[in-house]
Every structure is written in C-alpha cells, then in structure tokens.
Symmetry: C2
DNA sequence: GATTCTATCTCGCTG
DNA sequence: CAGCGAGGTAGAATC
C-alpha cells in the first residue's frame, strides 16, 4: 500500500500548485513550534492541506486537529531523508509545522468549488434582535437606546433606560452563563457609573437562557440582575 | 467521476461498520439543528467521519469545519431520494447533522492506528511550574502556599504570602491578557477579602507576558498588580 | 496590525 | 452529569 516517496511528493506538490485541496493519509511524526511547541510521535493520521494555506492533522479521535496551521500559511513538500516531509510556515507570529511521513497510504487531490454561505440561527445576534423588537421581554418600560455603546471597559451589548429613567446595561448570552459573564457585565456597569458624573443610577441586567449557581451568587453580590430569555428558533 | 449512489453508500457504511476513518468528497447540502441551527447550500466539501463518532465538514477555506458533530455521535448512511445521505445524531444536547450528496467524487476508508500522545510545552501549567520553582520571579519574598486554592468565586492559580505577611493571589496567563483576565483576578481577590474575617490584606497579581492598555487601566482601577513573565521554552 | 468578544466553541478536570 | 477555566483557541468586527 506504500508508495514511492518521490512520486508521492510530486503528487502532493502538483495539487498544491493547482490550488486544489490535498489530503495525505499515512504514518507520520509531527513537530510544531510557535506560540507554544509540541511533539507527536509516529501514528496514522489524515493531513488536509487547503488552497487557502490551512493545514489540519487529524487522528482517529476528536473534533480538534491534533496539530494545524491557520489559513495564510505556505506549504512546501520536500523529500527529507527519503521521507515525504511537509513544511508549513507563517509569520506574525512565526510558526512552523513539520510532518514526516514514514509511509503514505493515500494521496488525494480535490478541485473545490463552493459558492454557498453558511446561514446560522440561534446566535447572540438573533437574541439581540429579539430584545430590540420586544424590549418588554427584558422588563416592562425598558427602552433600548443604543447597541454596542462604548465604555472605558468595552462595548455594551444593549444600552437603554428603564421606566424610572435609570440607565440600563444589558449583557446578552445565547446560552447558560457562568461567572465570566457576570464579571463582564460588572465591568461595564462599573465603567458607566464612573463615567456618569451626575447621580444617575446604572442597572446591569444579564439576559440569557439560564445561569449557574456561582454566577447567580456573584450577580447578587454585585447588585446585578438576571432575566431568563432564549435566542429565537 | 460520479459513482453509483447505492454502491457509494455501501462503501461508506462498510467503513463505519469496520471502525475505520471514512472520508467523502463531493457536492452536498448540509443541515444542522441543535444548540443553534444552520443551513448550507450546495458546494464541494470534504466530509470526515471518525470511528469515535466525530463528523467534520470542511470547505476549501478555514481552520474550522463549516459544520460538525462532536465525538460520541451515531452516524448512519442512507439513500434518500437517490442521494447519499449521512445522518448523524447525539443526545444531551439533542443535535442532528444531515448531509445530502448530489454527487460523490471519492470515498476513502482508512484503518487508523495511533498510540502516540501529543506533548505540548509553553502552556499555563509550564508557567506555573516556573513560578513555583522561582517565586522571586513574581516578587522578592513571595512564598507560594497552594495551587488551585478554592474560593467562593473559583480556584486561584497560586495562593501565597508576600514578605510582609499579606495574602497574595496570582493569576497566570500564558499570553498577553485583556480585560477578561483582570475580571477573573478581581473576582478571586474580592472573594478572598470577603472570606478573610480578620483584617488581612489581599493583593492580586496578574502574571503574563504582557497586558493590553484597557486591561492595564482596569488593573489600576481595581488596585491590582501586573508582573511580566513568559512561559518557559 | 492590535484589541475585543463570540462560539453549535472544544477539551480536560473536578465535584 | 454539570460547572469551571484553558486554548497554539479561531473568526469577526472595529479601531
């Protein structure tokens, strides 16, 4: 099932040169060096080289590739010590990925045409639309005034006022939230209180499907509020 | 280049039954429904089905699969309206992925053996080891007393005391940090101050390679400190 | 390019 | 199983 390494290399390089998607399955070692560094001993893996400069190394397990390079990298095929050697580099940050194939079971080249765009629903953006269309879902009398309003601590998802004229900061999450989301909301509320030189009251409301116990306690400690709401669909 | 759909389906199913990694390249539509939902119109994509129940749908661009299922899913091959139809399901949460192939250019089956483990260096754990071996890198006189010390707000990376007997909370990050890390440290410090009924001073120190401007301001506002330190390697 | 935040995040660990 | 935090997170939007 093994193939002549030189012929294999030519096939891989021809695919890369043609702007095709190239896959290589075989026994290999993998070295990575960059933001971190890693070593992976011999094993059977599927290498996917994309025409946009992406490289993915997949084992038989897991959603995540065991090693990879992001889009925009340069891939080179080489013969190093008689083995097929794929060398991929990027800059900013400087990172290299090297794969050494002791044997190659298959090389495949695919000419890819894909004009469709993925459409997703049930995102945080959908939840924001839902709140903007029906602000009373947050609270009777709530009036949104701005989205992505800037503060010293970052941009607030929805900024508005309540029925008593108090300022309201709404932080949206599409799923059940933990302590991190409370910290985020607290930063925005604190920043706005600091920025409002008059005595305006600033309320913080976390809008999400649900909240963990620890996050709930943090909300109470900080005097922040929670409203249960799911993204549409 | 197209293949008989029934024959193709048999090949895919045989690979799944044999516990092999199966790839299908061809023109397809993809529907996903679960935590969110998505639709993807016709285009050429590479489908990877792993023996652990993972499914990955890759276009010609990007590190991330355009659609996927995590490990542990059940994959079925079907003939629906004369097309190869891959149906993948999971529970908790209930999620389904459906791929309909208008044409298939290639099916590949790979028997995978991989006994090697990935070893990574330059992680947060490596940074923690570095600090525990040389606590003076944080500050002269700093003495670590515990790692992963529990608080009401979660576990502190390193807990210790300074030369004056004050409590010190160290939050480690392997890379440049933004506002979220400051919020995290602040939650731990606040929780410990609440828990220490005597008048013990609790200091919070963020240890990371560098810090963004906004995070730096947040640190100053909260009376927290920063020490520049990189993970080893 | 740097910063900030979302994500069907995934993954590992711990209770 | 849920919760919590790390990640070479990637990706998008904005400055």
């Amino acid at each position: 099932m093994d193939r002549d390494a030189s012929e294999t290399r030519n096939e891989v390089q021809a695919g890369l040169d043609a702007g095709e998607m190239v896959t290589v399955f075989g026994r290999c070692r993998v070295d990575y060096d960059g933001r971190a560094s890693s070593e992976l001993g011999p094993g059977d893996r599927l290498l996917v080289l994309k025409p946009d400069g992406t490289a993915l190394v997949h084992t038989d397990e897991g959603h995540q590739p065991v090693n990879w390079q992001p889009p925009g990298c340069d891939h080179e095929s080489r013969l190093t010590d008689g083995e097929l050697h794929i060398h991929s580099t990027r800059t900013t940050p400087e990172e290299t990925l090297d794969m050494y194939f002791a044997s190659v079971a298959a090389v495949n080249r695919y000419a890819v045409t894909d004009d469709s765009e993925l459409s997703v629903s049930g995102t945080e953006a959908d939840l924001r639309e839902r709140v903007l269309e029906s602000p009373s879902l947050v609270e009777s009398g709530f009036e949104p005034r701005a989205t992505e309003r800037g503060t010293a601590a970052g941009a607030v998802d929805i900024y508005g006022v309540d029925g008593d004229g108090n300022a309201v900061v709404v932080e949206l999450k599409r799923r059940r939230v933990g302590p991190d989301a409370v910290g985020q909301l607290d930063r925005y509320v604190t920043a706005l209180r600091r920025e409002s030189h008059d005595g305006t009251t600033v309320r913080g409301i976390l809008v999400a499907p649900s909240v963990t116990e620890q996050a709930s306690e943090l909300l109470a400690e900080q005097g922040l509020e929670f409203v249960a709401l799911e993204p549409p669909e």
